[in-house]
């Protein structure tokens, strides 16, 4: 924010910010640096490297960049992010928000209530619900498909990636929906009403009026859900990364190396790469926001 604050002295501001700084340092900054440090060692959970880890500099990164399972996880993560965060949560959230904007009363409350419900249920419970829903023999989905004459499908096996994309979309759309709904509220109704009077179609109204008004919020939403989706671990509860690594997103790959093979150093180095990717996203966001301001 440009301009200094007249109400508080610089000292008071720092005093108020100090607790936040301390918390952020202890819980965010320090662990992040610790992960970077660990990533440069061959620290393990067991074995001689648990007691006497040595400094290996960039060896872990070299190994990661030469490991096809790393690339597989990276690819799966991007597809997962594109499918569930962008096409799923953001697009669906936007469509829902715009439809609800025109809608009033019971249905509006019902749809947003249902979406928020999906958002506030603990993740482990949600994962269990989805396993129960998708199960081949007892799942509701297959029972319904069976009732109308389709053959049963073992979803988590035949379409593991699609399953976790839909799961994560279902889980997270509420956030985008809420954000877009409140953004739509800020558009002066007169804009849309006069456009309607002038005979603008729905698509014209969307691109000419709504989109320019909510662009900043759209950007914020995209960056936030991209970061969250990239870091999410819950799909593990559905597929465990399998079968045959077909749903192994990057966090599951990190888990596998760190807690299955106990290579904490290597896992940390891949975590650092994940951190870098997230920083890259954040940078894009800042750039885009900066450009918009000057435009």
């Amino acid at each position: 924010m440009p301009g200094s604050n007249q109400f508080l002295s610089r000292k008071t501001i720092f005093a108020f910010l100090a607790p936040a700084f301390i918390l952020i340092s202890v819980f965010l900054v320090f662990p992040a640096f610790w992960v970077i440090y660990l990533g440069l060692t061959d620290q393990a959970l067991t074995g001689i490297k648990a007691v006497l880890p040595s400094f290996v500099f960039l060896k872990n990164f070299r190994v990661a960049l030469g490991d096809r399972f790393f690339y597989n996880a990276l690819k799966i993560s991007f597809i997962f992010c594109l499918g569930s965060a962008w096409l799923g949560q953001a697009l669906l959230g936007l469509v829902l928000a715009i439809s609800l904007y025109e809608l009033k009363g019971f249905w509006r409350n019902f749809v947003s209530g249902a979406a928020v419900l999906a958002w506030i249920i603990p993740e482990v419970v949600v994962a269990y619900l989805w396993i129960a829903f998708l199960d081949k023999d007892f799942g509701l989905l297959n029972q319904m498909l069976g009732a109308v004459g389709f053959s049963r499908i073992n979803w988590l096996y035949t379409h593991p990636l699609l399953a976790i994309v839909i799961f994560n979309t279902w889980r997270g759309t509420a956030f985008s929906l809420l954000l877009f709904s409140s953004a739509l509220e800020t558009i002066p109704p007169a804009f849309i009403e006069s456009a309607k009077v002038m005979g603008a179609s729905l698509i014209q109204r969307f691109f000419q009026i709504i989109l320019p008004q909510i662009r900043a919020i759209l950007l914020t939403d995209l960056i936030l859900i991209t970061l969250w989706t990239f870091n999410v671990f819950t799909p593990f509860l559905l597929t465990g990364g399998g079968p045959s690594f077909r749903s192994e997103i990057l966090p599951i790959y990190i888990w596998r190396t760190s807690f299955k093979y106990f290579k904490l150093g290597y896992g940390s180095s891949v975590s650092s790469i994940l951190l870098l990717i997230n920083l890259g996203f954040a940078l894009l966001y800042l750039l885009a926001r900066g450009r918009k301001k000057h435009a």
Binding site: F16, L23, G47, A50
Partner: protein, 451 residues
């Protein structure tokens, strides 16, 4: 801005207050207590062992004047391993842990286990244990684990199917060609069945390494880890024979079904198929016979002892290969070095390891004994399968290289076999990729190729 600062302060203090409030409440008691952690829960994994503990503990508590707290867990083995590694690293683990023999080296190296050697000279039961079994609980000359049970690996077969295919019983192949010849006969007689399964693939996990790749590799006279050189072997004639054998049985002759062994829940499906007589010959462990096929269990076979035969797994038949081969694992008890009272913990371990106590465990679920008096006891004699296989196979059974890098290399062995049996890579290409993967794990200087 003011409100923002205030809310931050509020959050900060609301976080601090409960943290200050929860001071640990130490339970004071004059009776010394010992905690035992075991991956066993009632109605779940290892429920037999859990029941056995419940029956044993009151007696031990009375006898020794102590309190024993059993901490149950009911999770997958590898998750249990991660849990105890974190427990031990944090220095807050149970005093005694039910532990897989195979984890000893990496935990011992990290200083997570108490060496038991000081207690052994005055332990009356020591002389009863086979040296090979004490060896399996040791690492670099020190003993860390007392083996309570072990297992063996061999070929199981449906007697009737082999008889129908014209194979004389009892069947005992002398080399790999004899296994293939018998399987071909079964295939001719029953074209819809799977004549032979030697495990492979990532989905099968450790079962694809132990009763799959390694039993073949050792059977071809090969090694995975060269003790003398201190290096991991990534290519050798035995490696080539093993990969060729996989290719032969799964691809060339279609004696095994690659789709089955690489699909999810492959192991459970295999159990089901074998139980229903859809697989004729299967290489598995003692546990498969005593637990999976146990009459009354979900994959149990009624009249199991009459219907199912077993044969020693032969070596490849090539010069330098062993005549027969088996692999063993097992588990027992270890003590945390952070225990407050090591002597007491040891006494509890010794008490759990007495003949009468192990006999009771055997009655809950049969296993291959690790000590002589148990092997000869009347309790074991009631289980002819154990009584016969133990003396026949124990003399030549071997174990896996117990080194910290093994679990990951094991994964790449599974991948290697998967790529061959699914035809994704030729044995040669798959072996080269395996070599590169192992080099990535242990470093090129710690690998060796044998011509």
């Amino acid at each position: 801005m003011k409100r923002f600062g205030k809310s931050i302060l509020f959050i900060f203090f609301s976080l601090c207050v409960p943290a200050a409030g929860c001071r640990k409440q130490e339970e004071k008691s004059s009776v010394p207590a010992v905690q035992i952690l075991e991956n066993a829960v009632p109605g779940g994994i290892n429920s037999d062992i859990y029941q056995w503990y419940l029956e044993q503990i009151p007696g031990i508590e009375k006898e020794m004047g102590i309190r024993i707290e059993l901490v149950p867990a009911g999770i997958r083995d590898e998750d249990f391993k991660a849990r105890i590694a974190l427990d031990l690293k944090g220095g807050r683990s149970a005093d005694i842990i039910g532990f897989d023999q195979f984890w000893v080296p990496e935990f011992a190296q990290a200083g997570f286990l108490l060496p038991l050697d000081p207690f052994l000279p005055s332990w009356p039961d020591r002389s009863q244990y086979y040296d090979s079994m004490m060896e399996m609980g040791s690492f670099q000359g020190k003993t860390y684990l007392i083996m309570r049970l072990t297992d063996l690996r061999m070929l199981f077969y449906h007697k009737q199917m082999l008889a129908d295919a014209g194979i004389p019983l009892p069947w005992q192949p002398k080399n790999w060609d004899a296994i293939i010849a018998a399987s071909e006969k079964i295939k001719q007689k029953f074209p819809d069945l799977i004549p032979l399964q030697i495990n492979a693939g990532v989905e099968m996990g450790e079962a694809a390494t132990m009763q799959g790749f390694l039993i073949l590799l050792y059977g071809a006279g090969g090694e995975l880890y060269d003790q003398k050189a201190g290096k991991w072997v990534v290519d050798s004639p035995a490696f080539r024979q093993t990969t060729d054998f996989y290719k032969k049985i799964y691809l060339d002759r279609k004696l095994g079904n690659a789709e089955l062994v690489t699909s999810p829940k492959a192991r459970e499906k295999t159990f089901e198929m074998f139980s229903k007589g859809r697989i004729a010959i299967y290489c598995e462990s003692t546990w498969f016979y005593t637990s999976v096929l146990k009459p009354g269990e979900s994959w149990g076979i009624k009249d199991r002892d009459e219907k199912i035969g077993w044969a020693k797994m032969p070596g490849s038949g090539a010069p330098g290969a062993p005549e027969f081969i088996s692999l063993s694992g097992g588990n027992g008890w270890v003590i945390s070095p952070k225990t407050k009272n090591p002597d007491l913990a040891w006494k509890v371990v010794a008490r759990l390891n007495t003949l009468s106590s192990l006999e009771k465990l055997f009655q809950k679920q049969a296993f291959t004994p690790t000590r002589k008096d148990l092997a000869q006891s009347t309790v074991v004699a009631t289980q002819p399968f154990i009584a016969q296989t133990a003396p026949a196979i124990l003399p030549f059974t071997r174990s896996r290289p117990g080194l910290p890098d093994y679990p990951e290399i094991s994964f790449y062995l599974q991948l290697l076999s998967e790529q061959i049996i699914t035809g994704k890579l030729t044995p040669d290409a798959a072996l080269k990729e395996f070599g590169r993967s192992v080099e990535n794990i242990v470093g090129k200087e710690n690998t060796i190729q044998k011509k």
